[in-house]
Symmetry: C2
């Protein structure tokens, strides 16, 4: 079956986020004074083939662990939805 | 009131995604042969103060348009949830 995964990779809460700090000060200069705790991460969409939901989730978990996220400083969350029968 | 926004900024479908292409070939080399259509975007979390939901959504929409997304090549989606009464 054909699946679509949406993955969010973010820095661990304990890790300083310089990009987030820079964006926050930029937004504050634009007048968004109340904006706080800006955290910037990666948002990844991809499609893959798998026999069933569990196998799709297993593949996505493994590829996040192996390549898309650095487990030392990042955490990841993902959703997997079946699109339709495998593309002919 | 105190709100949390989660924002996803992605390239317009018509825009080539070199980072996505690179990640896909990397994943395929790792053995994930069926992975396709990899698209890489930004995932942003932030907090802000607003009088009500509508105003919070309006602020987030404006700050996405003004700073977080490049409307020429990117589109954005966001969710806004009330956290609790404004922090004292």
């Amino acid at each position: 079956m054909h699946y679509k995964a949406t993955i969010r990779v973010t820095l661990r809460p304990s890790v300083l986020d310089p990009a987030g700090v820079a964006v926050r000060s930029g937004l504050q200069q634009l007048g968004y004074a109340s904006v706080a705790n800006v955290r910037i991460g990666k948002y990844i969409e991809l499609e893959l083939e798998a026999d069933n939901d569990a196998e799709a989730r297993h593949q996505v978990d493994r590829l996040c662990d192996q390549m898309l996220a650095n487990p030392v400083i990042e955490v990841y969350k993902f959703e997997v939805v079946a699109l339709e029968a495998a593309r002919r």
